[in-house]
Symmetry: C2
Subunit: 310 residues, 2 copies
Amino acid sequence: MNIQQLRIMRETVRQDFNLTDASTALHTSQSGASKHIRDLEGELGVDLFERKGKRLLGLTGEGRMLISLIERIVLDVENLKRSAMQLTHEEEGQLSIATTHTQARYALPPVVSQFKAAFPKVHLELHQCGPEEIVSLLKAGKVDIGVATEGLANETRNFACFRFYEWHHSVIVPEGHPLADGQPLTLERIAEFPLITYHKGFTGRSRLNQVFEDAGITPDFVLTALDADVIKTYVELNLGVGLIASMAYHEARDRGLVLLPAAHLFPKNTSYIALRRGYFLRSYIYKFLNICREDLTEQTIRGLMSREDA
Amino acid sequence: MNIQQLRIMRETVRQDFNLTDASTALHTSQSGASKHIRDLEGELGVDLFERKGKRLLGLTGEGRMLISLIERIVLDVENLKRSAMQLTHEEEGQLSIATTHTQARYALPPVVSQFKAAFPKVHLELHQCGPEEIVSLLKAGKVDIGVATEGLANETRNFACFRFYEWHHSVIVPEGHPLADGQPLTLERIAEFPLITYHKGFTGRSRLNQVFEDAGITPDFVLTALDADVIKTYVELNLGVGLIASMAYHEARDRGLVLLPAAHLFPKNTSYIALRRGYFLRSYIYKFLNICREDLTEQTIRGLMSREDA
DNA sequence: AAAGCTTACGAGAGCCGTAACCATA
DNA sequence: TATGGTTACGGCTCTCGTAAGCTTT
């Protein structure tokens, strides 16, 4: 038995039992992969794959029993290499973060600049995309960290999720707008106007819908966007009333617009930081989390990683 | 990197950093082992061993960080092989049990005969020895199961310990002995006679001492033995009063001797079954535990193995 | 036909063990 | 001097990739 055999075994499962894809993914020949699998089956004395003629269709019952151990071994071997790398190049490396516009623009800048000061040699990569893509990038191991409000918290089997910060939606209107008359804000008054807010699945949008539905109100969302900057642009054009995350409003920068707090109308939202479970973490990743939330140290993170939520 | 390198690494640590011993333990050449270690260090880019000239003295700090991962990988690889073996030869194999005389003679016989009926092809090996040796045999992996009253329960880091059954000490005397006069048994009355019981460290002996000490009584242990059969022999010779585990008394077999219950004088004892943590368990091992305690199924055992006590 | 797995085979890398060498107690 | 680790080296196995063959869709 050798590690390559296990790697090929794992990759073949991941590539939906397509040996050709598996071998290209591992930069090796397909014939070699074929032989490796047969050798492994021979040594273990067990058929791992269900075959129809020459095609691989899936795992046998025995294969399913053994694959989890194999996965763990391969993962551990990778982690061993990473750990060793980490020990020699403590300060160098890459940190890839997948995140939404909202986080990248309003929540992460102070974190990133502090992090860059602490680890100048680490190459930072911000991957801006939607919540589903964050999840798949994380799962595929293409990024180290995911940051978003949506989509992460219900993936605690694969990810360890840490609370980042909490925030509320606010209403944003042009100066002199009827809603800015000082009278208390209600859902009914807001819904009298055309609304502009985030796309479905972005930045707490699901909760907004829920609130209106619970109140029996059907608002008119005339325009939805991926980010608050676009929303603000159309609010300035007087196309409607904006509903944005309050940290997206900047008094000096957003002259001509007025922010009306709406914490009493909409429930609070929580943004999460997610890491894959089971993978080795470079020391600077711990540092990054530590900057995000001071109470997260390497020790506490390690502890929370192995359990459920945080 | 390959598995042999990791195996050699692990074995070298286990053999107290003696490469020669490590390589003989793995049935390979010492020169090869030397090379493997240097290759591994080269590939990982880290010195794993502290050296003084050419001697290996211990692990470096980096080595200490990595050794636990290496241990786990090697263990998983072994478990993978065992699991596969298990899947093909479900019913065959060996089951080694280390246990004391008391368990082997009085508690295990019904379990063993039931087990043999269920798995006739499994070769059973009973290793009779003292509690400390049970612990070391288990640790070394020379036996699969340890059964004893003493020594196991405070090793929960290395072993998963399951309660087997509970029992009490009893007093045993020849027929017509003054203690068998029907009057209630007290510590004071017992201590008037010379006592015969188990060696230190065997079958609840420590608790006996504690009870007398707490009562401010200094009994006269004239003779100690490893097992109840020896004790009974000397009680028959009227050399003293016996203190034995009550399950060691058999009315028909032990004619001429009288058992006086002493559950009110001595605290209850618990016998434990111990398994090593982290190792793959053949299906018949689950069956063995299941016979010992009906509520232990493969599922419950798996669950309890990963946690602390049971 | 096209996609996909297996078999055959030759080149080359890597592993192993013997033996000689070197360093430490 | 004995124990223990390293270096050198030849044999040999094992791995890898190309190419051809065979099966299934």
